[in-house]
């Protein structure tokens, strides 16, 4: 089954483009998954120019900031950490693949995310775009966590 859903909501407030992400500025208490996220972000920030074999630049700091704000909004303390995938457009993809579910959040610029959800058991496939309203992501995150 394929179901395409488009969600249009408000435009996100601006995030500093050149300000390096510091998780402690976002999170008052450190959830369990944050250590993995911090380690991955540190690794991604060290990627050199041309890391993708074709001239991609370093990842955008404002994208990493936005990704942290998305995680802060949708993750619970026991949610497994995402794999953070760097992309040639200098954004990232947050990925979970478990319990037969593939859940991915692609962020190319702050304020917008392209989301895909695929359930290998039922064949359900959905994709949609979110901006400030993250409620649809929290619902999917619950399925992964469960």
């Amino acid at each position: 089954m394929t179901l395409a859903v488009a969600i249009a909501d408000e435009v996100a407030p601006p995030i500093p483009r050149d300000r390096q992400p510091t998780a402690s500025l976002v999170f008052a208490d450190k959830p369990h998954w944050l250590e993995s996220v911090e380690r991955q972000i540190a690794e991604l920030r060290s990627l050199p120019f041309g890391w993708d074999a074709f001239g991609a630049g370093p990842l955008r700091h404002d994208v990493l900031w936005f990704a942290l704000s998305v995680l802060d909004a949708v993750m619970s303390d026991d949610t497994p950490p995402p794999h953070i995938t760097p992309m040639s457009h200098e954004g990232i993809m947050l990925e979970w693949h478990q319990n037969g579910i593939d859940f991915e959040i692609e962020i190319e610029r702050p304020g917008e995310a392209y989301v895909t959800y695929e359930d290998g058991g039922t064949g359900a496939y959905q994709h949609w775009t979110v901006r400030t309203n993250m409620s649809s992501l929290a619902h999917m995150i619950e399925r992964i966590t469960g």
């Binding site: 991604l44 890391w51 993708d52 991609a56 630049g57 760097p86 992309m87 993809m93 693949h97 478990q98």
Partner: protein
């Protein structure tokens, strides 16, 4: 279909190259971070492997590849050209890309990469299809 044209900044404009056969293949080198845990103890190829360049690098948003025939013509191997930090190599058939509505063109980078080709029109929604249609030239053992 068309021929290669450059804009005023010297960039190749998106076009579909008549001289690149539908049977030809394009190569993408797979960075280690594009192989993600699959939840079953192995790894899988991420959709994130198939992304165009940023608007800053390329206003036409081409996805960079190498053209396999050009590499082989020079007696080279795509596996030998795999850069550090990359763990695998995949190829994409040009016919399949065109069937998705994408344009494929020769886009050499002077003094850097004479084998470079671009794929124009890759979107977030198409990445899933590219993962499904790519074929491994070199696949790490733990990748399903």
């Amino acid at each position: 279909m068309g021929a290669r044209e450059y804009d005023s900044a010297g960039r190749v404009r998106p076009y579909d190259d008549d001289s690149i056969s539908g049977d030809a293949y394009l190569v993408r080198y797979i960075h280690g971070r594009w192989l993600v845990p699959d939840g079953a103890g192995g790894r899988r190829l991420s959709k994130g492997a198939f992304s165009p360049s940023s608007e800053v690098r390329d206003p036409y948003r081409g996805m960079s590849t190498d053209i396999l025939d050009l590499i082989l013509h020079d007696g080279l191997s795509p596996i030998e050209r795999k850069p550090p930090g990359h763990e695998g190599v995949v190829k994409l058939k040009v016919e399949g890309l065109r069937n998705l509505g994408l344009m494929v063109g020769y886009d050499p980078i002077d003094d850097v990469n004479p084998y470079h080709g671009s794929v124009w029109g890759v979107t977030s929604a198409l990445r899933r299809r590219l993962v499904q249609m790519c074929e491994w030239i070199e696949k790490p053992l733990d990748v399903a």
